[in-house]
């Protein structure tokens, strides 16, 4: 544009310079010299203008360059932004598309639910008992019986922090002997450190396996308890006191050792005569205890896991307590539990010696049981429909032999033990398990063969069927409330059938 203007001006003045001499006659025209000077001045002015314009052009060119540069940079930044955004969108998309991991979901769900410290579990069951009572025991009334029972044992677990747990079980039963409610257990469990848990309150006797780990309805493979833990308990079924317990691995994975030591209120008996029943802490028939007992139990699991030899548990227990303020009960026992694949076996032996007041002979008792069960899970009978095989595979046939030897049995206890079914009125029993009610089970030398057939719907839902054959041996005495002893004489060979549907929840 500057050049154009300059060129225009040059043409104009050039033309003027050519035209002027063509009119020399004009008298008012300036002299030639003046004209020339004026032209020169204007040419100089034009030169200065041109110089200025060139500088402006240079400046503008520089600015255009800078702008072009900036533009380039912006383009690059924009490009990068676009690539980044696309990548980010793609990641977000995959995240949105992918389901949350179980932990993420679990965590989120836990948060949604809030802090839960409270759980209700337990067991419930319905039972039918038929008992064919062949003969009397000590001239007591006998009669074949059949009855239905229901039992509900809710358990509450409350865990306010990760090192304290409260657990409590209330046992309720309804049947021909009436409705019964009992507090089975209620204790606090405190994790003091890795190898020590303190348990305080009312608990199942940690002696042997039976009371503590086998008595719940859905855990016990049979409907009834083995004789030494049922109607003729050798050691007290429960205790109020404090336990210290813990376990540790001593070798390879699976090789564990554990201990439980406890002290408590001590044993109670229904009376001070020979053969009186041991009672549970919550059905204290008479309070002879002066608050002293001490017990210990040790278990060892010698088989390493990776050898796949199954799991073997060997246990030993002792329980000693003062009763009647000066006399002592001492007891000990050994037990085992072994399972591999579909086979499961267990057994216990226990002995108790009770010092007696008033010059009576000491009250000695022995008890034992062995049992075995085999899940037919692997069974495949040829030529029968698959569905039938499916049912058969849920069956577990069982057999148990149990017995008790005791010097005497109190006739008071016999008179009180009238019912069949789920505990309730039984002297000294925690009503956690069924009893067949046969008088034969109260004989001083009771023996029982129990055959079982369980149908497992789920790991803790089972329909159990049991057939009991009572085979008491002769011997022993019956003891009156005043301590008069009469020989036991003939004992009845009763039969009983029990069927129970039970759920552990």
């Amino acid at each position: 544009m500057g050049y154009g203007k300059l060129r225009g001006l040059c043409l104009f003045f050039g033309a003027l310079w050519l035209i002027v001499p063509l009119h020399p006659a004009s008298a008012a025209a300036p002299s030639e010299e003046q004209m020339l000077r004026r032209i020169m001045r204007e040419v100089n002015e034009l030169k200065a203008d041109k110089q200025q314009d060139e500088e402006k052009i240079q400046d503008l060119e520089q600015r255009v360059g800078a702008i072009q540069n900036q533009n380039h940079q912006l383009k690059e930044a924009n490009q990068k932004l676009q690539t980044d955004t696309t990548a980010k969108i793609a990641t977000l998309q995959t995240k949105v598309d992918a389901p949350p991991s179980p932990e993420e979901f679990g965590g989120a769900f836990d948060r949604y639910l809030g802090t839960h410290t409270f759980t209700v579990t337990g067991a419930a069951g319905g039972q039918f008992v038929y008992n064919q009572q062949n003969a009397a025991l000590n001239n007591l009334h006998h009669d074949s019986q059949n009855s239905f029972f229901v039992d509900w044992e809710p358990m509450i677990l409350y865990r306010p922090t990760d090192w304290i747990l409260f657990q409590g079980v209330i046992s309720t039963g309804f049947g021909s002997t009436g409705t019964g409610v009992d507090l089975s257990t209620a204790d606090f469990q405190i994790l003091a450190n890795k190898y020590l848990t303190v348990v305080a309150g009312l608990f199942d006797q940690p002696f042997g396996d039976w009371y503590e780990t086998q008595s719940p309805m859905w855990v016990n493979r049979f409907v009834t308890a083995p004789l030494p833990f049922g109607v003729e308990s050798v050691v007290p079924p429960g205790e109020i006191g404090v336990q210290l317990r813990g376990g540790m691995q001593f070798g390879a994975l699976g090789q564990d050792f554990d201990y439980t030591v406890w002290g408590g209120n001590g044993p109670n008996y229904s009376s001070t005569v020979l053969g009186a029943a041991v009672s549970s802490p919550t059905s204290v028939a008479s309070s002879q205890s002066s608050g002293k007992s001490i017990g210990a139990r040790f278990r060892v699991y010698p088989l390493p896991l990776e050898k796949e030899w199954g799991r073997l548990e060997l246990g030993a227990s002792t329980y000693n307590g003062e009763w009647n303020n000066r006399d002592w009960l001492t007891s000990w026992g050994v037990d085992f539990n072994y399972f591999i694949d579909n086979l499961q076996t267990r057994g216990e032996w226990l002995e108790a010696y009770r010092q007696m007041p008033n010059g009576q002979t000491s009250d000695n008792r022995q008890g034992w049981y062995v049992q075995a069960g085999y899940f037919l899970g692997g069974l495949n009978v040829p030529y029968i429909p698959d569905q039938l095989n499916g049912y058969l595979q849920r069956l577990e046939p069982l057999v148990r032999y149990s017995g008790v030897n005791q010097r005497g049995v109190s006739t008071d206890d016999l008179a009180a033990a009238t019912g069949i079914g789920l505990g309730g009125t039984q002297v000294g029993l925690v009503p956690d398990f069924g009893i067949n009610g046969s008088p034969a089970t109260y004989a001083p030398h009771a023996r029982e063969v129990a055959l079982g057939l369980d149908y497992w719907f789920a790991p803790s839902i089972v329909w159990q069927n049991e057939f009991d054959i009572e085979l008491p041996r002769a011997g022993g005495v019956f003891v009156s409330p005043t301590g008069v002893e009469t020989p036991a004489g003939a004992t009845p060979n009763d039969r009983a059938f029990l069927s129970q549907f039970t759920v552990g929840f």
């Binding site: 450190n193 859905w218 896991l305």
Partner: protein, 93 residues
Amino acid sequence: MKRILAAIVLATLAIGYAGVPVSAQENLSAAEHRRLFREGAKLWPVYCNTCHNARPGSEKAPYEWDQIMMHMRTLGNIPPDDANAILVYLKSR
């Protein structure tokens, strides 16, 4: 009698004291979680079958397992590391 009991309490506390947290479940790294899960999967069919049929993880919510495992750990005197691995396994099923 009281002295025997006190001695047992003190001895157990002394032997047992390790000053370690009793349950360290929170904030596990992914690798640690996988290791515990695998160990728990090995232990569950054996340890949880000792007294009764093994109950599967799907039966209970994770928060319920926190409580039940503490109960089972006490009943079975299960070594704490094993109980922890089983808990991780049960909560993830």
